[in-house]
C-alpha cells in the first residue's frame, strides 16, 4: 500500500510528523473560521474524505478538540461543533478573562525579560497596519494579531498554567459571532499600547488596570453583535 506517499494533502501544510497532529490543526482552523458552522453536525467519514485520510486520525483529533471545548460529542449520535456563545456565556467569558488576564498583565510587568518586553512593545505597534485588508481577511488578521499580543503577555507572566488557561479561554472566544466592531482596530491599538507601556515601565498596578480597561472596552465593542441577528440564544426562547 504505497498510496500513502502519492497522496497530496489538500489543506494541511507539509505534514509535521504525525498525521493526527495535522488533522487536528486543520479541523481547528475549520471550526475557528466557521467553515464548519457552529452547532452543525460533524460527519467523521466526510471529514476524512475531505482531508484524504482515514477516519482514525480524524477521530483522534476530534477527541482532543472536544477536550478543548470546540466540539461536543453526544454518545451515540456523533460530534457537533459547539454552538455560538449565548449572552450569558459571553459575559462569563469576559468575567474570567478580566480576572485571569488582569493578574497576568500585572505579573508580566514584573516578571518579563528584556526581550519579552521588546516583543510585546513591537507587537502593540504592529497592530496599526491592520487597516489594510478586505472584509473577512481583515477580521482574521486582526483577530490573530490580538491573540498574539495577549499570548505574549501570558507568556511573559512566567506562569505556564495561567498561560494555558488563557489560551483555552481565547479559543472559546472564537465561537463568538464573526463581528467586526466599527473603529475597533484603532481603539484596540491604543489600548494595547497603554498595556505595553505599563509593562515596559514595570508598573504592575498600571498594567493590570490597563488590561482590565482594555477588556472592558472590548467587551462593550462586541456587545452589538448580539443585536444584529436574532440568533437562538436559548433553545426555546420566548422573546
Amino acid at each position: 500500500m504505497a498510496q500513502q506517499q502519492a497522496r497530496e494533502g489538500r489543506l494541511r501544510p507539509a505534514r509535521r510528523l504525525t498525521l493526527a497532529e495535522d488533522v487536528y490543526e486543520s479541523i481547528k482552523t475549520l471550526v475557528m473560521d466557521h467553515i464548519l458552522p457552529p452547532g452543525e453536525r460533524v460527519n467523521i467519514d466526510a471529514l476524512a474524505r475531505e482531508l484524504d485520510v482515514s477516519p482514525t486520525p480524524v477521530r483522534e483529533a476530534l477527541a482532543r478538540l472536544e477536550a478543548d471545548g470546540l466540539v461536543r460529542k453526544r454518545p451515540l449520535s456523533g460530534y457537533t461543533t459547539t454552538p455560538l456563545l449565548s449572552r450569558a456565556e459571553f459575559d462569563d467569558l469576559f468575567d474570567v478573562r478580566l480576572l485571569l488576564e488582569g493578574a497576568t498583565a500585572g505579573r508580566a510587568a514584573t516578571h518579563a525579560t528584556a526581550v519579552q518586553r521588546q516583543r510585546i512593545s513591537a507587537e502593540a505597534g504592529a497592530s496599526i497596519d491592520v487597516e489594510a485588508g478586505d472584509g473577512y481577511r481583515r477580521h482574521a488578521t486582526f483577530t490573530t494579531l490580538d491573540a498574539t499580543f495577549h499570548d505574549l503577555i501570558a507568556e511573559a507572566a512566567g506562569s505556564p498554567l495561567l498561560r494555558d488557561s488563557i489560551t483555552r479561554l481565547h479559543s472559546h472566544l472564537h465561537l463568538h459571532r464573526l463581528y467586526f466592531p466599527p473603529n475597533g482596530a484603532p481603539d484596540t491599538t491604543i489600548e494595547h499600547q497603554r498595556i505595553a507601556d505599563a509593562i515596559i515601565a514595570g508598573d504592575s498596578r498600571a498594567a493590570a488596570d490597563a488590561m482590565r480597561a482594555h477588556l472592558t472596552a472590548a467587551r462593550e465593542r462586541h456587545l452589538p453583535a448580539f443585536d444584529r441577528l436574532r440568533a437562538p440564544e436559548a433553545p426555546h426562547g420566548s422573546a
Copy 2:
C-alpha cells in the same frame, strides 16, 4: 463476532454508552492513583489488552487525556504519563489556585442558591469522618472529599468557565507525590468549615480570604513532600 457481549470488563463499571468514555475514565483513574507511575511510558497495545478493548478507543482516550495534561505525546515515540510536579510547577499551581479559587469563593458567597449552601456546609462537615481508614485508602478518600468540596464551591460560583479551569487545575494536583501531611485532615476540616460558614453568611470578602488562607496552609502542609525523596526536580540539576 459476538464476543463483544461475552466480554466482562475488568475494571470498568457497567459500560456507560460508549466504550471510549469508559476507557477514558479507567485510564484517568490509573494515572491519578499512580498505578501508572508518573514519567512512565504508556504502551497502547498493552493497555488495550489489559482493558480488553481494541487499541482504537484507547488511542482516543489518550488523546483526551493529553489535552487534560495527564499524559504527553512525543510525535513518533508514543505516550508517556506526565512526570511529577517540580517545585516550580507546584508553586505555580498554588499561585493560580489562589487567584482562581479565591475569586470563586467570593462569588459563591453571593451567587450560591440555598440548596448549594446547604450542600457545601454538609460536605465541610462530612470531612470529619476521614479519620478512619488505613494508609493509601485514607489518602484516596481524603483527596476525593477535598476535591468534592472545592468543586461544590466552584459550581456555586455560577461560572462554568471558572469551574472548568479549576477542575483542570485539580487534575494536575494529583500529579503531586502521594504524601499525606501529618494532622492534615483536622486542619483541613477546620479551614473548610470557615470557608463554608463565610459562604453561608453571604460574606464575599470573608469567603475569599478564608479560601486563600486554606490554600496557603495546604501549600505549606504539602511542602515537606519535596524533602522526603530526593526526586529529580530538573533533568540535570546541580544542587
